[in-house]
Symmetry: C2
Subunit: 209 residues, 2 copies
C-alpha cells in the first residue's frame, strides 16, 4: 500500500489520524496542494480529479475519498473499531461523519477557499481557473456558525459525535475545527460541549499524525 | 422501518431505486421540499438539519445520508449486492458513489438552487434565508460539464460507474443526470459512453420508483 498524502491538508489528515489510531504505518508520498502539485500531470495520472488523499494498493488499484479509504482500512485492520461494530452503528458513524463533512469541512472550505489569497485562482478543490466568490465566503462563514451550533447540540446529548464511542466522525469534526482555526475562525468560548469533547479528542496521540 | 421521503427530489430517489432493486418495500411518509415542509418544526423534530431522506428504525433510531441508509439496507438485505461484495469492491463503490455526488449532484444542485425561482430564499439545502448567488450558478453550470467529461472518461474504461457491476454509484449518477435534465441541462449528444450506459441503467424497472 502507498498513501498519496499532503501535510497540512485536512482530508489527508483524517486518514493519517485514522491510521495512527489503528497503529498502521504505510509508506506515503507527499503531494503539495499549496504548491499546486496536485494539479500537475504527474499526480493527475494518479488521481484525475486532483484530490487528496489517494490510497494505492499493491496491485495498483487506487481508492480515493476518505470514508472509502477508511472503510477498506477498517476491513483489513478491524481493531480498534473506528466505524462501528454493528450494522446500525456503522450506518450511524457513516452518517455522522458526513454531517461533520457537509456541515463542518465544507463550510470552512467554502469560507477559506473563497477568501484566502492562496486559493485565488483555484477555489474549487482539484481544479484551476475558477474565481473566488466573496458572497460565497460570507455564506461559508455563516455556515461555520451553524456547524458549531449543531455540533454543540449533538455533543450535549452524546459523548462522542456518533455515539458513546470515538469514531471517524470525531476525527472529521476535529479536522474541521482545526481548519477553521487555521482560517482564523476559532471555536467560540460559549460552546462548552464542544470544548469538553475537543479537550478529550485533541489529547489522543494520533492528532499530531 | 419507515422512510421519510420526498417525491421528485434526487436524494430520496436514490434510496427508492435502491429499495426497488432489492425488492424491499417499507412504509414511507412524503415530506414536500417544494412546499417547504422539510423546514417546518414537525420534520425538524425528525431531522434537525431538514434534509431528506431519513430512515427511521423500529426502535426509533434515525439514520440520514444516502450512503449510510444504503449501507444499513445492504447489511440487512445483501441480495442483490449494490455496494460491492469484497472489501476492495465496497471501497470502490463508496468512492465512485461520492464522485457522482460531489461531481454530479453537487454541481447540478449548485446551478439549480442558485438560479431556480423555487429556491430563491433557501438556496442551502435544509436552511432558509440565504440568497442565491448568480456567480455560483454560473460555476455550477461549468461544473456540470466537468461532471459529464469525467463520467464520459470513466465509462470509456468501465461498463458501470464503479466497475463491471451495477451499483449505488450508477443510481447516483442517473439521479444527477435526470436532475440536470429537469434543470434544463440535458446530456449533450457528444457523450456516447454516457448515452450507452444511460440507456442500460434507465431501462431497469426501479428507475420509476
Amino acid at each position: 500500500m502507498k498513501l498519496y498524502d499532503c501535510q497540512g491538508a485536512p482530508n489527508p489528515r483524517r486518514v493519517r489520524i485514522f491510521l495512527s489510531e489503528k497503529g498502521i504505518e504505510i509508506p506515503s508520498v507527499d503531494v503539495s496542494i499549496v504548491d499546486g502539485d496536485n494539479l500537475k500531470p504527474e499526480y493527475l495520472a494518479v488521481n484525475p480529479r486532483g484530490m487528496l488523499p489517494t490510497l494505492e494498493l499493491d496491485d495498483g488499484t487506487r481508492i480515493d475519498e476518505v470514508p472509502a479509504i477508511c472503510t477498506l482500512l477498517e476491513a483489513e485492520h478491524p481493531e480498534p473499531p473506528l466505524l462501528g461494530t454493528t450494522a446500525v452503528e456503522r450506518a450511524l458513524v457513516l452518517s455522522w461523519d458526513r454531517h461533520m463533512e457537509l456541515d463542518g469541512m465544507n463550510a470552512v472550505g467554502e469560507y477559506f477557499r473563497n477568501s484566502a489569497p492562496l486559493f485565488a485562482d483555484r477555489v474549487v478543490v482539484g481544479r484551476a481557473g475558477d474565481a473566488q466568490i466573496p458572497a460565497l465566503a460570507e455564506r461559508g462563514r455563516r455556515s461555520i456558525d451553524v456547524f458549531f451550533d449543531r455540533l454543540e447540540a449533538r455533543l450535549a446529548e452524546s459523548e462522542y459525535v456518533a455515539g458513546p464511542r470515538y469514531s471517524l466522525a470525531d476525527i472529521t469534526a476535529l479536522c474541521a475545527i482545526d481548519l477553521a482555526g487555521f482560517a482564523s475562525v476559532p471555536l467560540p468560548d460559549d460552546r462548552p460541549q464542544i470544548r469538553r469533547w475537543y479537550d478529550v479528542v485533541n489529547a489522543r496521540p494520533g492528532v499530531c499524525a
